[in-house]
Structure formats: C-alpha cells, structure tokens
C-alpha cells in the first residue's frame, strides 16, 4: 500500500477545501470499502480525510414530514432508528440485508451510497477492466458474468451497483445533499449513480471534492407498507443476485400508487418506472404484477451466465407485491 497522510476533519469547509485542491485526496467514512480497495491496489490515495467526526451523525424528523439522515450515521444505527422502522420499513430491511453486524456498525450512509462494484475483475488488478483502468477492456463481458447487469449496461462495462440501501432510497425518491467548494446542491438519489456508457470509471455524478452531507427522505405516508426482498447465493452475508424494494398504496382493491426499484440488475439502483406505470390503477392481481415486471424487463439484455436474473426478478417482484397488497387488504 502506498504511504498516505491521514487527517481527522473537524469542520466540513476545511475538509472540502483540502480534498478539492488535492486530486490524490479522498474522504474516508467507515473505511469498509476504501480500506479494502487500498489493500487490493484498486486505488492509491495520497491523503485521507476522515469525516466520521463531522456533525452529520443524527437522524432528524423535519417539521414538513421529511426525514434527514446525516452522512456519517452508521448503517446499523439507521436500521435501528424508530422513525425508519415505522415509516420506511423498506429502508430498515435493505440496510439489515447488507454485509454483517460488525460491518454495519462501521459503514456510513455516505460510504454505503458511494461503495463501488463487487465485479471480481474490477477487484483483481491483474485483469483488464475499463472501470479501474479506462481503455483496458472489460473482462466480464465475455468472462464470468453471473453477477452482472441485464439493464442499462454498455459494451464498456456490465457491472452492477452493490448497495442494498441505495435501492431502497431509489424507491423512496430520496434526495442526496452534497456540499462542494462552490456551495451546496441536491441530487435525487436516482440521478446520483450513472449508467456506464463510455465512461464506466465514473460511478456517480459527483465531482472530486464534493462531500455527501445527508440524505433526505420525502414524507411518503404509504411507505409504512413497504418491503425489501433480497435473493442471493446464501441465506445471509452475500451480495444480491436480484433485489426488489417496493411500496404500494391500494384503495378498494386497486393499486393507486407504487414505488419500485431493483438491485443487482444495473450499474445503478434501478428505479422501475415502467413497472410503476403499468401498476397505476391496476387491480392487485397476479397478472397485473407479472405484467408490471414484464414492462420493466422488456429491455433486458442478458449475458452468458446471468439469464436467470430476468425470471428471478419477475418472480421476486410478484411475490413482494403479493405480500404488500395482501397486507394492505387485511
């Protein structure tokens, strides 16, 4: 590992100034992704600015019904937060499905959002990978690609985004609050992560030096009936093959509103707007659930090892919607 300088940030402005002016500097939260990458040689920062002591460690209910989650709130604390468990169960479940108890105690909200793909070629510096080394090629395209994308991929990169939390946030229409050298901006979480296109090395729309300070959830009363379901190779402590985050509102047996996002399918948490449109006004029936899944998956393009993801997503979405609408009716 290359030697680096470590600083514990005491105020956000100087942290932002320090990282912005030094292309080799990085923020570090819990370190559970970044330290791993430094060990693997994927990234070699010359300076780390530790942001975990900045005053972003609380979850606040705002007067207008929104909830603001500080960027350094640990994943375990967020999942245990009463307001999240009661009003946004999909988010608590997504967090609890990720990593392990001892990792969630370290992992932060900001770091979880910005964690990088688990593509095995990306993590192996001896293999070509356009995301790690632009222009070197994509080893997964013709290689072992069971975990890779079926939606929104490009010739350059077929990686998936690994975060469970981000999938729930996409379904909930959360906003990401960002502070940079030129002030603050708000980025909808669905626009934070990019599709790979010609620049797979760019995971997100953030510029170097921009600091995630918080995530805000809209009030969204019907999210009390929401759910996160993750399908994986073992029962626990594994990344998603496919995951579904959903919230539905049912009135007199018809679906009047729905929020759906998929994980494990794309380079970003995949907000399923076509499925949502198909469900709008539809009866809460098995046929309607399957039609919604088909509407979203019509564009799916599978690779050698991941054809199974399409039927798996369809079945998982139908099962989650069935559970949510039965729950609603009872």
């Amino acid at each position: 590992m290359k030697p680096f300088d470590y600083q514990r940030a005491t105020d956000a402005d100087s942290a932002i100034a320090t990282v912005s002016r030094d292309p080799e500097a990085r923020y570090i939260g819990g370190g559970t992704n970044l330290v791993d990458h430094m060990k693997l040689g994927i990234t070699e920062p010359g300076k780390l600015v530790d942001i975990t002591r900045l005053p972003y460690d609380s979850v606040e209910s705002l007067p207008d019904g929104r909830v603001r989650i500080g960027a350094t709130v640990r994943n375990s604390d967020l999942a245990a937060e009463p307001v999240i468990r009661q009003r946004y169960p999909v988010l608590a479940q997504a967090l609890l499905s990720g990593a392990s108890g001892q990792l969630r105690n370290l992992a932060t909200t900001g770091g979880n959002l910005l964690q990088r793909t688990r593509c095995s070629y990306f993590q192996d510096v001896t293999t070509p990978c356009n995301k790690r080394e632009p222009g070197s090629g994509c080893s997964a395209l013709e290689g072992w690609n069971r975990h890779h994308a079926v939606l929104g991929a490009s010739e350059r990169c077929v990686a998936t985004h690994p975060s469970d939390m981000a999938v729930a946030l996409a379904a909930l229409d959360a906003d990401v609050l960002v502070a940079g050298p030129d002030g603050q901006r708000t980025v909808p979480v669905t626009e934070l992560h990019r599709l790979p296109g010609d620049e797979p090395e760019q995971d997100t729309v953030l510029r170097h030096g921009e600091l995630v300070t918080a995530v805000e959830l809209p009030s969204l009363p019907f999210a009390v009936r929401s759910r996160y379901r993750k399908v994986r190779d073992r029962a626990s402590y594994a990344f998603a093959l496919v995951s579904v985050a959903a919230a539905v509102e049912v009135t007199d047996g018809d679906i009047t509103d729905a929020r759906i996002a998929f994980g494990g399918l794309a380079h970003k948490p995949w907000r399923a707007t076509a499925a949502e449109r198909a469900l709008h006004g539809a009866p809460a029936t098995e046929e309607a659930f399957r039609a919604a899944a088909d509407a979203e998956l019509a564009e799916a393009e599978t690779l050698r090892d991941n054809e199974f993801k399409v039927p798996m997503t369809r079945n998982t979405l139908a099962s989650v919607l069935r559970e949510l609408t039965q729950q609603e009716g009872s």
């Binding site: 030697p3 680096f4 370190g31 245990a80 169960p89 108890g101 001892q102 105690n105 370290l106």
Partner: protein, 167 residues
C-alpha cells in the same frame, strides 16, 4: 507516515506510533502483542478479527489504527474476568462451540456485541415485525451471527451456546 495514537486495549492504556497504513487488527497483533483477534481474510469477509470497538462489535481488519485514536478496544482476551470466562465463553466451552478455535475469539466478541444489540431492541433482516421487541430464536441468532464464518463448521453448537448465554 507515522502518527501517534492512544488506545485502551482490554483495560490497558497504550500509546504507540503507527504507520498510517496499519490496520487496527495489525496494530493489536503485531504492535501490541494482543493476538486473540485473528486474521482470517483481511477483507471483512470472515469475522475472525471482530473486536468490541467503543462497545460495539466491529471488524478490525477494515479500519486503520489512526482512525481509532482514543478508542476503547475489548478483545476476547479482555472479556474474561481474572480466571472466570465471560458467560458467552463459558457457554461455548460447555457446548463444544468450536473445533480448531481459530474463529472463536471473533465469534465471542461478535456474540457479546450481538446480544447487546438485541437487548437494545435492534431488529435483524429476519425479524418479522420491525416494531416488536426481538426474541432470539435460532433463525435470529444465525442471521445476526452470519458475519462470523467457521471453517470447522461448528455452527450448530455455536448457536446452542449463544442461546444458552442469551438466557
């Protein structure tokens, strides 16, 4: 690049100068000779390096020592009181909760942290009702302990031991 840090490890105050690249796990094992946390994978994937960091279970291989200046670290070694093992350690002994023992110190710290989390009412992914208090049945224990792998496959007895310690 070196940096001076202070840690409390198993009740002792330790001041040392560490290269910023040193993980907390390596600082404990290589610099302080505290070898109960084990290095299994060094990538957060096995749980053998689990310690209690400011009272919460954490993987010590994915955090730099410098980031933990002024922290309190308790390892499996520090959980015993004099010659009396911690109740979780006692239960693992009584129930044959290990074979080679390599994963055990991590299992012990993880279980102690996990029992505290459950006592505080934290749900898990298998908790049906996120609003209810949790009852630590076998499914709950397996889910909550999934971050600790055991290559000897002593899981059945580990679960029994933790259930016993939870009572």
């Amino acid at each position: 690049m070196d940096s001076e840090i202070t840690l409390r490890v198993d009740g002792r105050r330790e001041t040392l100068s560490v290269d910023t690249r040193t993980t907390l796990l390596d600082a404990l094992r290589e610099r302080l000779g505290v070898t109960s946390p084990k290095k299994g994978c060094d990538h957060g994937q096995c749980g053998a390096c689990t310690v209690l960091l400011d009272g919460r279970r954490a993987t010590s291989c994915l955090t730099f020592a410098v980031a933990n200046d002024d922290s309190e670290v308790v390892t499996a070694e520090g959980l015993a009181e004099e010659d009396e093992p911690h109740p979780v350690q006692r239960a693992l002994l009584d129930n044959d909760g290990f074979q080679c023992g390599y994963c055990t110190p991590g299992q012990v710290c993880s279980a102690v942290g996990m029992l505290d989390e459950a006592k505080s009412g934290w749900p898990s992914y298998v908790t049906e009702d996120l609003d209810e208090s949790v009852e630590l049945d076998e499914d709950e224990i397996r889910e909550r302990m999934s971050g600790n792998l055991c290559r000897c496959g002593a899981y059945a007895n580990i679960v029994t031991a933790i259930r016993e310690a939870a009572e």
